[in-house]
Symmetry: D2
Subunit: 342 residues, 4 copies
């Protein structure tokens, strides 16, 4: 039986990528598509790459529009998801691509986002230990942030196995689509092309507490996380370089073996052949995360690198993966590990 | 029943894109993959985006390897297809992504490619009048060049209807993957990024006679074609700007109506809403061609613009479309009109 | 004696490039810098590449601020230059980088810009026949548009010598900085990278009448101009591909000789060695225009290609060149023909 | 009196950038230009952006060609500089842009480069404590590597003042020109655009021991350096993100003050206003390094970010700065702190 879905926020990058994924999903029917200022506009002028939906007109983001669907995806600015979800029945699966329900700690929410903490929903990273079971049958799911997805998956095997001190440094180079489609001068093509820059330095980026939360779940205590995001001139993709002090002497081979074992059964985490390092291009459009690890003996560090498409496995692909789990469908239905390159 | 396919030249860009398409095709089984200097190498190190084929090892491009398949795709440098095809039985469908069998005129072949003319196979552009029928059941098909595909489809309605003089000017801005994966200094990222350049100026590009051949089929006589290709800093996509003198006064609305009518039944040619102009990003990874047209009254010209992904509808997508027609499968099986954006 | 200059509109791309040029000019002292919404802001946060001016604070664009300078450069949205210039004395050299005073024909102004025609100032393209003399000692100068600069210089030798019919087709691929620094969603890096698009198709771009005006000065009558601008993923540079029907049979060698002769004495127009085609990267940051020409015998066309940096020779470099002429300084003072590559 | 210079290796990126700088230097005359396989070729076809030298023909890299100059710049693959320098008289200033004479430790040389250690020349980073004096009057100078330049300058104030543990993590995102102009498939534009990747991970990059050497000079002992270079899609520029554990509690303000003080008198190190983070675009074409620093209290880390143009201050600009010091000219002669943006 076909699942009827709605997408709230269909004119942005996350919304468009959700639709690209859902159009490829064999078990869904695309229902209402909503927008804020774009309500009333045909999708063809906003997302011209989605030809089959070119004539669909955006509706307002309200209960009338969103009710009557089996699954509602929210791709909205943070702060808006709670009110909408409260209106939708408990039998509706609500999958939030925003940040509202990711953090368990109200203090962290207050510090990084401000305002009242909306609450916590099951966290949509099935690759975390024990997490897949929590998503089966869930009707409310918080899709992880893009940086936390790749940072967590790149570090988890080392952290969980105690190979490194709970004190990690993540420098993540991101494409620009993570910053959204709202017009901002510093995101103009003229500014971005030929340019690499750092932002949110010193632990101020909002994804920092989410990475901390994920990694700390893996150990007894809190993992210290130094997180620096970079903006580099590409539209999609994140490359996360993760460095941590070795807890004890460790060979590169043993580090590699630990990663291979940790992800042996994960369909979407691909540990590359030893010696081959991730590149974002290999995962563009795909739900795969590519990971590699080694040891720097002279520096006493484990270094792991991960690549993800921030809009796919980093957002929309994860959302579909979560929907599949919530509905009891095969986890990978409609998803791919094949990237678009070159 | 599953169709068993082989790809000769699986390590290049066309080969990789063929595999990306074929992995998404529900009716094929991927058999032998071959390479020249890369024979013996695992595909995972050459095409790391094709995760499901990462462990497949390239074999030599020879009869032993290629025999026993229902369909053989050739993605080889020109000049090599004829000898291979001659060895494969007439019951094997051979689809050549190279230039060897595209040109009907031996003199044009000699002038632009040199050496002996291999012959002419059914030309794999089903959108040309009458061409679809020729591809049904064909066992030898020549996939069109990327520039000819978009140039022909962007101009065909105007030329065929006699809206313009048979004297067209095409300036086509292309991404770099059309130039292939062989290492050349002028194609280095350092040279390409931030740079636009012209090449093959003055009618010397090898796709010129192919465009001429296609357009001349539509009229009684020869269409003069001025073709200038540009290299612009993007990996994929071609944007063709096509200008021709009006044959008689014509309104923009009438020009548009002619294009809509011409392509009303074509699944992969998408005439955009009037006033919306094509961009390559909308067709990346897709088999769609986006087209728009208008009239410049002051200059007395019809101006039409088309966008294509040179590797998809411009090569591998067209090849799969042709395979579907040859085998009697639904023409669009395994193909998409959805692009990857942003 | 040092010339004291002011720049109105110092926070935009044209303003920033003017300052980059003026900082390299040995005979000027940089006085007032003005902005609109950015008045009161330190330049260091707006133009961080201009380190020597980092602590300079923008002032409002008004008479108080701009008076007391020998030369005032205007880098403002069109429609604002006239009122400011009227307030400045006739002894002040006013150089307008905007469009207000470029077009001689009020009807063309009304059609393409709307509103009242401000008038016509000496046109700052000294390479046009007879134009250099008009700029010597001028106190009001209209700097040409970026597309008209490269289109005109790429076609002028052929048009002036009657080598081609007065019926030209220009397709010009531009970087994004020509669209300015105002935040617009379609100019976001996420939209621009990996994307080529056409805009202003069908003769509707505002630079069309300016190209027509320039080329028509060279002949007895009006030159028909079909002009299509493209946006390609690079921050700077324009590559103009110019095609025109041959007026009579012509060899490529003769076309080339005509270009070499036409520009033999021009310091900033560089006709490349025969067979070498322009690329925008060679002229980035420089005041040079690179040009090449050939003949397509089969198509009966002359094809010429030109490259310019839209912000340098296309705007700020031309402005400085004009200032030098106006003040009787050596024409190339503070300017360079050396590009920044790779 | 004019200084007569030669450039060995004028066809590569470092050589081209040396010439771009030297053409802007008021006190030098450009003598012999040499190449290896490109000897006999006009520079105009190899470096078309250097218009004033377009007709200069490359000569072979040998003693005959290089003798008779006051200064010889070597921009050669490593391993070649020693033999050439040995032939040039002690009165000739030889400035090596390669790696041969940078490392003091033969064991480090053997481990990272292999073969015999050529020796050690004065290290051309005048911003290191005491180093400027060693360069005055020197006749042999080793120009630092690009990564070591920015990494060292970004960390030096913190390391030298003991603000951090001697245990640093550097992740440096680089443009592609640092990889040179030799044709390699993984550096093709098609591979690079839209792609971020890591390489030389785990301490294996050749610049690692150079960074270690520089930072260890500032303390009593050895600084542990974890260095990971990234390749990101831009032609020029390096952004180095440097993280180190705080040695003791430290405020962001105090860290900033330490940086400002450390670089108060350095003409080419620009500590940005507090809160403004470096971007590579601001330093393209310039000899400036932009630096910013903060403290991440939760993670217990100092985080500093630096930006440099790998070809300018990272290579050719540094070489000219060193030449100025060697010859007793003003240190900044012919150099600029102004970048080319956008």
């Amino acid at each position: 039986m076909t699942t009827r879905i709605a997408v709230a926020g269909a004119s942005g990058y996350a919304g468009g990528e959700l639709l690209r994924h859902l159009l490829a999903h064999p078990e869904v029917e695309i229902g209402a598509l909503t927008g804020a200022s774009n309500a009333g506009t045909a999708l063809g002028s906003l997302q011209p790459h989605l030809v089959p939906l070119a004539d669909r007109v955006l509706e307002p983001t309200d209960l009338d529009t969103l009710s009557g669907h089996d699954v509602v995806f929210l791709a909205l600015p943070h702060g808006q998801s709670g009110a909408i979800a409260a209106q939708l029945g408990d039998d509706v699966v609500v999958i939030d691509c925003g940040a509202d329900f990711r953090l368990a700690d109200p203090a962290a929410w207050a510090q990084f986002y401000g305002g009242e903490h909306a609450g916590t929903w099951p966290y949509g990273l099935p690759e975390l230990p024990g997490q897949r079971a929590l998503l089966a049958g869930a009707t409310r799911i918080a899709v992880p942030g893009c940086y936390p997805t790749v940072s967590t998956l790149t570090l988890a095997p080392a952290v969980a196995a105690g190979l490194v001190e709970p004190d990690v440094t993540v420098v993540a180079a991101s494409g620009t689509s993570g910053a959204g489609k709202a017009a901002k001068a510093h995101l103009l093509g003229s500014e971005i092309m030929g340019n690499a820059s750092a932002y949110g330095v010193g632990g101020s980026h909002r994804h920092t507490p989410e990475i901390t939360q994920n990694l700390s779940r893996l150990v007894d205590g809190t993992v210290k996380v130094s997180f620096t995001p970079l903006l580099v001139p590409m539209p999609r993709g994140i490359l996360a370089t993760c460095t941590a002090p070795l807890a004890a002497p460790l060979s590169a081979d043993d580090a590699y073996a630990a990663y291979r074992e940790a992800y042996a059964d994960e369909p979407f985490v691909h540990v590359l052949p030893q010696g081959q390092w991730p590149q974002t291009k290999s995962v563009i459009g795909s739900n795969a995360v590519h990971v590699q690890v080694t040891v720097d003996e002279a520096a006493g560090k484990l270094v792991a690198v991960g690549a993800v498409d921030n809009l796919a496995k980093g957002t929309a692909g994860a959302a579909v993966q979560c929907m599949n789990l919530a509905l009891g469908l095969p986890e990978g239905l409609g998803l791919t590990t094949i990237g678009l390159a070159p």
